[in-house]
């Protein structure tokens, strides 16, 4: 398979980082920054907070590098780690401003993620927004991790510590909910052109 040389690189990159190689550490940082930053900002809707979370995560990684497991594929681990930090930071933030909700973070996914132009009418926007709201926070995240972050089902399973089949089910349900909406949009688009 074409994936294997990359996998091998990932494994050695992680090993180099674990043995204290700063170049490897920053290679990991740079390679994954765009994806992780986008993930954090989707979860928190807060750029400053996202930047802080990424900083905290890497700092902690560096400090306990020797004690970490050796990993074949560290990407899901980074997503999981970052997710936990973001959740904690959001809680802290809520406490600070005096409102607390114990809920899971709810990703902001807007109609803009699905529409191609601004030529859509209010009605379409409403419809998309409705469909998105019918997704649970977890369902949104799964769709996002799959289609934006390009994680495999197996990797997503590692992020949430659930099994492969649960991820497939989550995805299947999400797409079922979104199907009509997406087909509807394609339909609108065809008739628009």
């Amino acid at each position: 398979m074409e994936k294997s040389p990359r996998k091998k690189n990932q494994k050695t990159l992680w090993q180099r980082f674990q043995s204290g190689d700063e170049d490897a550490f920053f290679e990991i940082y740079q390679e994954n920054h765009a994806l992780l930053f986008n993930y954090a900002i989707r979860l928190s809707s807060n750029e400053e907070l996202s930047r802080d979370c990424i900083h905290d995560m890497y700092l902690e990684l560096w400090e306990k590098k020797g004690k970490l497991k050796s990993l074949e594929n560290f990407k899901p681990y980074l997503f999981k780690f970052l997710r936990n930090i973001v959740i904690d930071k959001i809680k802290e933030h809520h406490k600070l401003i005096g409102e607390s909700n114990g809920k899971e973070p709810d990703m902001v996914i807007s109609h803009e993620d699905f529409l191609i132009g601004k030529e859509y009418k209010e009605l379409h926007v409403q419809k998309v927004t409705q469909a998105l709201q019918s997704l649970s926070p977890r369902q949104k995240e799964v769709v996002y991790l799959k289609f934006y972050s390009n994680l495999s089902y197996k990797e997503i399973a590692e992020v949430y510590q659930i099994n492969y089949q649960s991820v497939r089910n989550l995805m299947s349900e999400s797409l079922k909910k979104m199907k009509e909406l997406l087909l509807f949009l394609v339909f609108v688009l065809i008739f628009w052109c």
């Binding site: 920054h33 765009a34 986008n38 750029e47 930047r51 900083h55 289609f147 934006y148 089902y153 979104m178």
Partner: protein
């Protein structure tokens, strides 16, 4: 091998290999599915429907400014250096001082110390000549004054100098100035009326810019989110130094302004109009050919409010106007009337629709 001929729409949608084909992320998958479609014309319709669904999902990307990205990288690089390399005599001594403070204050002190240490590390790597300064600072106790959005504060230093801080600004200064110099650190904007003392130069460090004077009145604008830092002189003489471009400096005479562009990293001398640069300290809010974004930022900072924008107004041409000590509502009424948008006020927020 799965039997794809039994696949329903949902099966196609959640099939990873099919997703890879639609999103062209794997050459193998593309080859496989193109081939499969040819040999299974009966399933073509349903497969293509699934394709349409999947290709409709296009998440937008948030881009972090290159400048901020570099700053974050730098922050991390600095943070992972062995600690004692950066902890200087000053940090250690401050540590000791803070420990004498009562237990209840300990937590605050600890976080303050962290703040001081972090910003210090930043300075150390940013400023070339910091090494000389730090030693003399060692016994100094620092005070920090933070001014929030919507506020302005005037401070009087022990030497008689007056500093008026604009909204969203921070000044760090020693409880007592050293016998041979007066130094403060500024983030944001402030107007200085420095008491004359020819034996003790007064220096303001702000980002990459330092301004040194003996006694005079001038304005420093150095908000970290702005491209330009400016020092505008009202009276006396000042020396402005670009800390990054080693030693590049400039002497200013009254009504001259030094401007440092962060991108080009060079100092330029300009003339200025009093009310443009110093009007703020007398409560003058000024717009010159401003677009909506500038207006929003300025009002948020000036009045300490947040804007909720439901519909971004399009200003046909830039907005110009001046307001002297007027309320937010009066100002908004003026701008919205000329620029043709509507607003509401709700719980400290301005809603634009």
């Amino acid at each position: 091998m799965k039997d794809y001929r039994q696949y329903t729409l949902e099966d196609f949608l959640s099939d990873e290999s099919f997703q890879e084909y639609v999103r062209k992320s794997s050459a193998d998958a593309v080859a496989f599915w193109e081939n499969w479609k040819k040999s299974n014309p009966g399933q073509l319709e349903i497969a293509e429907e699934a394709e349409r669904v999947l290709s409709g999902i296009n998440f937008q990307t948030y881009k972090l400014d290159e400048y901020k990205y570099q700053k974050d990288l730098h922050r991390l690089r600095t943070a992972i250096q062995p600690k004692d390399k950066f902890l200087t005599t000053r940090d250690k001594r401050e540590n000791v001082i803070n420990f004498k403070i009562s237990r209840s204050a300990l937590q605050i002190a600890a976080s303050l110390l962290l703040l001081v240490a972090v910003s210090f590390i930043f300075w150390k790597s940013d400023l070339l000549d910091f090494g000389n300064r730090e030693e003399n600072l060692s016994a100094v106790e620092w005070v920090e004054k933070v001014v929030d959005k919507g506020e302005k504060v005037t401070l009087t230093m022990k030497d008689g100098s007056k500093i008026k801080l604009n909204s969203e600004s921070k000044l760090r200064f020693p409880e007592n100035f050293a016998p041979d110099k007066r130094e403060v650190y500024l983030e944001g904007e402030a107007f200085f009326e420095v008491a004359k003392d020819s034996n003790r130069p007064f220096t303001i460090y702000s980002g990459n810019l330092s301004t040194t004077v003996l006694g005079t009145a001038f304005n420093v604008r150095a908000y970290s989110n702005e491209k330009e830092m400016k020092v505008a002189l009202l009276e006396g003489k000042v020396k402005v130094t670009n800390q990054v471009n080693a030693g590049e400096n400039m002497l200013l005479s009254p009504m001259e302004m030094a401007s440092l562009n962060k991108e080009k990293n060079n100092l330029v001398k300009k003339e200025f109009l009093f009310e443009d640069e110093l009007g703020w300290k007398d409560g003058l809010l000024l717009f010159k050919n401003a677009n909506f974004e500038e207006i929003r930022l300025k009002l948020e900072r000036w009045y300490g409010v947040s804007f909720i924008i439901q519909n971004n107004p399009k200003l046909v041409k830039g907005y110009s106007g001046r307001f002297e000590n007027e309320s937010l509502e009066e100002v908004l009424e003026g701008i919205s009337f000329t620029s043709g948008f509507k607003f509401k006020m709700e719980k400290g927020n301005v809603i634009i629709n």
